[in-house]
Point group: C2
Amino acid sequence: MKIDPSSSKDLSVQIAQAIRDAIISGSLRVDERLPSETELSEKFAVSRPTVREALKRLAAQSLIRTQRGASGGAFVNRLTYEGAYGQQITTSTLLLSMNAVSFETACEARYALERACAPIAAQRRKEEQLGKMREQIARQTAQALSDEEFCASDVAFHRALVDAACNPVLSYHLAGAVEAMQPLMNMITFTARSRIKIVALHHNIADALEAQDATMVDRDLQELHRYTVELAADIIAQKTRSSA
Amino acid sequence: MKIDPSSSKDLSVQIAQAIRDAIISGSLRVDERLPSETELSEKFAVSRPTVREALKRLAAQSLIRTQRGASGGAFVNRLTYEGAYGQQITTSTLLLSMNAVSFETACEARYALERACAPIAAQRRKEEQLGKMREQIARQTAQALSDEEFCASDVAFHRALVDAACNPVLSYHLAGAVEAMQPLMNMITFTARSRIKIVALHHNIADALEAQDATMVDRDLQELHRYTVELAADIIAQKTRSSA
DNA sequence: AGACTTTTAATTGTCTTACAATTGAAAACC
DNA sequence: GGTTTTCAATTGTAAGACAATTAAAAGTCT
């Protein structure tokens, strides 16, 4: 672990990089304790605030966690699926919100990926995910939900569908695609009629999944995709009209 | 912008969160300059090192960039696709390496997602991506590549395939799935015979894409998936034999 | 001896002050 | 007017101090 003080890069960046490399290469294992901040500052020949800035960088990526007190210190984090989901979702959401991605583009990506999960999900679906899906359908049907709540329930339904594939890596990749759409979906106002149609499709999907009919699931997802884009197009048309 | 000093959370975490929220909500716009560290420390009533730790957290997520000198400071970053790709890939790679994901699981996710791009790619493929694919095929055929180089070229080929769908959101999501497999793929030794088979499939894929034959692309990707898993299974069997 | 309490030492979190390095802009000069 | 110099603002880094936290060690009582 050495750094180059003459490099153009900031010291805290170099130190963070050095520790990151040590973690990735495996020379620092999960749950292993890093040297104390004082020791690190001696090792790298920098001040403690500089070491701390480096550690905060790593903490922001949840590569390490810190604990106070005797026998405290910085520890290498296991990157859990839950943690990775979170990072994935915030990055995806930010990417979409900052780059003026069209609704069509984001929606196309989302449904393409979701349809990829469908055949696997149809094959492996368990009672647990089917239950979650039906639970969300019930929410969407019975209760008087706001548009935001309806949208959140929609996301929960689709996540259950993805999870039904029983492939955590797939769930991880899809998390970003599905959740990041939520801010865009929130712009849509779901009328009573459109809700009925969406819930009906959700019903079909859950039934088809239970019957392990991958073709049917795919068809309904396609229809849901088409209909969602149609709804969004209506909203945009309305806005254009009102501003004209 | 206020924070709660009595909260159980660290001040630098709270400050980072406050600024992050301001960015996400849009009250801080892209390329806008944040107040100087001194001003922030007065505003939040904390010391400058604490503010700095907060800023480093944000910089680690590339939400901001800093510049020294007069008229320097911290600026809100636009999260570019390139930047997001990078974060996506490192997170995905770390997730796979730290969680003992089986080759089959990761491979299934990757090919399922890639096959989702195929129909769109077949429809929209441009000369540019076809060229890149053929270029990588040529590399894989002609030159004497190490296993790592062959593998890297393979990744480049598949990224070109994904990019052919002309949907940057899709490319972003796939970047993690494809690139994160590389460390796992690097464990495979590609014999002359297996290379010939893989390159033949790449050829078929490129041809089918040019002919806009989505069905054929899908079939070849399935075969590539099957063959890759078979190769990996051989390696694992060899290792088990040699250790027994 | 065993359970409970107190002390202690290690470690991170934060503050203060200071100086170095960088850089754009204003001022001075030719 | 153009060039150079100076300056001031800002981030980067350093050093030292104290507060807060926490686990372990030491002490104490039953």
